[in-house]
């Protein structure tokens, strides 16, 4: 059941806090999101303002100070950009792409899944057959094909990520809606002669949300990781929108000469972000799953 009153929210929060690992994840996630949101204000420099970077400072090692006396804690890249600032700005783009694509994919998947479960018949068959076919191919392959066709760009990668993700939500929503549809409260609503939209949106929908929330949390991490992989392969974001994946890709060519920091630290930031989301999602799954209730 969807938590509606304050007390059930409090109970969920208390259950969430039972796992120290999950709390650590939530804490890390808060830090990451805050840094991403406040990047323009907390970064030591704006790495994409040519007036603020100095090519003479390029490829400095972490902790090294430049001729002008500035210290770069995580070093600089080939253009002399401060890695700390680059990572903050990169987080911003990575999170934006991951969250935006997930929101769109949830909306589409929710609509498709509810339609499939509520109407049944050929609507169900058509939607679920598309879902089946799509899920039998790995996401990275579909996204790669789409981007090979569409080219680079923020809108395009969001489109590709939405395309590969909606099917998971459609399947999740359909299976929980099918179960909920059989329950007495839906029957009661029908007996009360409530309108179809009202039954679907006020009664069926809220009760299908908990499993969807869990899948969506995990999928944000997947979306971020997938975007990074695609950008690393050079088919994702353009160089004007440097996400973490693009920063890693940029540093890759200097790796063999021992200049590890240009791609290592952005990767570490990516890892912390994904891990934090996964820890939170794991705990959410446990507390929202009625079968695991003590």
């Amino acid at each position: 059941m969807a938590p509606e009153s304050d007390s059930s929210w409090k109970r969920l929060a208390a259950e969430f806090a039972e796992s120290r690992l999950a709390m650590l994840g939530l804490m890390l996630l808060t830090v990451v999101v805050t840094l991403a949101l406040l990047a323009p204000w907390v970064s030591p420099q704006n790495p994409y303002d040519l007036g603020q970077i100095d090519i003479m400072d390029s490829k400095l090692a972490p902790g090294e100070a430049s001729a002008s006396g500035k210290t770069y804690w995580l070093g600089t890249d080939d253009q002399g950009r401060d890695m700390v600032s680059g990572i903050f700005y990169g987080l911003r783009i990575s999170l934006m792409v991951g969250v935006t694509s997930t929101i769109f994919a949830v909306a589409i998947g929710l609509a498709m899944g509810l339609a499939a479960a509520y109407f049944g018949g050929w609507v169900d068959t058509v939607i679920m057959r598309i879902v089946d076919i799509q899920l039998s191919f790995p996401a990275i392959l579909i996204a790669l094909v789409l981007l090979a066709v569409l080219g680079q760009g923020v809108g395009k990668i969001i489109f590709a990520l939405v395309t590969v993700q909606w099917a998971y939500y459609a399947r999740t929503v359909r299976s929980s809606a099918l179960v909920e549809r059989q329950k007495e409260y839906i029957e009661a609503a029908k007996v009360l002669a409530l309108s179809q939209p009202r039954i679907v949106f006020r009664h069926l929908l809220p009760n299908c949300l908990p499993p969807l929330i869990v899948v969506a949390t995990v999928q944000v991490a997947h979306a971020i990781s997938l975007e990074a992989a695609l950008s690393f392969l050079g088919v994702g974001l353009p160089i004007t929108e440097p996400s973490l994946g693009l920063l890693i890709s940029n540093g890759f060519q200097y790796l063999l000469s021992g200049k590890y920091w240009i791609s290592f630290y952005p990767g570490l930031a990516l890892l912390v972000t994904i891990m934090a989301i996964n820890l939170v999602a794991d705990q959410l799954r446990d507390i929202l799953n009625p079968r695991l209730r003590k």
Binding site: S225, A229, L256, I274
Partner: protein
């Protein structure tokens, strides 16, 4: 069973036909390859001559029709860049990709199933928890970043393993393979481990979950009550039952390993099909992209088809008679 097999085969062919149309139309909508292939100083006449030679001046439906006719005879066009048949290019690179994918699967299976079994039998022990922690980390780590770290540690810092290439190969039944030479094995080690990590984590989780579920079943209790040795209860009764879902997942994951090899091959400059695909996308070499996708889609559909059949053979509970199997 025969009716099911035929219907399932029909479905597979339908998916293949739809995919070929999508792939063709999609890929042929990308920018103009003439721009890349012809000397920038070429005049309009020269461009037109190049377009005619490559068949790019025909209407797109006619191009698709020609493509289908050629495809049915095994020709998927000639690479714009290398000027050799695209299928030949793909087939030349395919053994390298298969070798990498199989090596990764072998690593994942040899370590994943025993570790998952242990964690499932001793969920609260320190080692059991440690195994689960490793699998969570393995899930979270982005493949390409692990690849970078492996290169950083083993190739740059320690200098014990080579960072790229395939190394020395020997011919096995006419196919060049790396795993039979020491140099080849050294080259294979890092990319294979990199590709295996995700599947390793998946197998640990899956085996652990199945074990924990199976251990509570009556047949295990009964086998124990009969006084069978623990080794036999686990090795025969438990393993036999949990292997059904595991074999299915391994089969299905083989396809995804081939797809994920795109990333690993790019990082370790492993000369397989994935690297070829990325190079072709960057060079707008359409015939190679189309050929790669069709070959991969065919491999996928074949794997899914075989796994479905295998599943119904392995597990008599799966009765496929009247059910609309997907």
């Amino acid at each position: 069973m025969l009716a099911y097999t035929i219907r399932r085969l029909g479905q597979s062919l339908f998916v293949l036909a739809v995919m070929s149309l999508i792939v063709f139309l999609g890929v042929y909508a990308i920018g103009d390859p003439i721009e890349l292939l012809v000397n920038p100083q070429a005049d309009a006449v020269e461009r037109a001559r190049a377009a005619t030679a490559l068949g790019l001046d025909r209407p797109i439906l006619e191009q698709y029709w020609t493509f289908l006719q050629q495809a049915s005879r095994g020709h998927l066009g000639t690479s714009f860049v290398y000027n050799v048949p695209a299928v030949q290019l793909i087939l030349e690179k395919l053994p390298a990709t298969f070798e990498l994918a199989l090596a990764a699967m072998v690593i994942a299976i040899t370590f994943g199933i025993p570790l998952g079994l242990y964690a499932g039998l001793h969920p609260d022990s320190l080692a059991g928890r440690a195994i689960m922690a490793i699998s969570i980390v393995g899930f979270s780590l982005p493949t390409f970043w692990v690849g970078l770290v492996l290169i950083m540690v083993f190739a740059v810092q320690l200098g014990i393993l080579p960072p790229n290439g395939r190394g020395e190969t020997v011919s096995l039944l006419g196919i060049p393979v790396s795993f039979l030479t020491v140099d080849g094995l050294k080259h294979l080690a890092l990319p294979a481990f990199n590709l295996a990590l995700l599947k390793l984590s998946l197998l640990i989780r899956l085996t652990r979950a199945s074990t924990r579920e199976a251990i509570l079943q009556d047949y295990i209790k009964f086998a124990r009550a009969k006084g069978l040795a623990p080794r036999r209860v686990i090795g025969v009764h438990l393993l036999k039952n949990i292997l059904i879902p595991i074999v299915t997942v391994i089969g299905l994951e083989l396809g995804s390993v081939i797809a994920f090899a795109i990333i690993t091959e790019s990082i370790f400059a492993w000369p397989g099909t994935g690297k070829l695909l990325i190079d072709s996308i960057n060079q707008l070499d359409r015939p190679v992209i189309v050929a790669y996708l069709l070959v991969i889609v065919t491999i996928f559909i074949t794997i899914n088809f075989l796994v479905d059949l295998l599943y119904s053979v392995l597990d008599p509970r799966v009765r496929l008679g009247g059910a609309a199997a997907a």
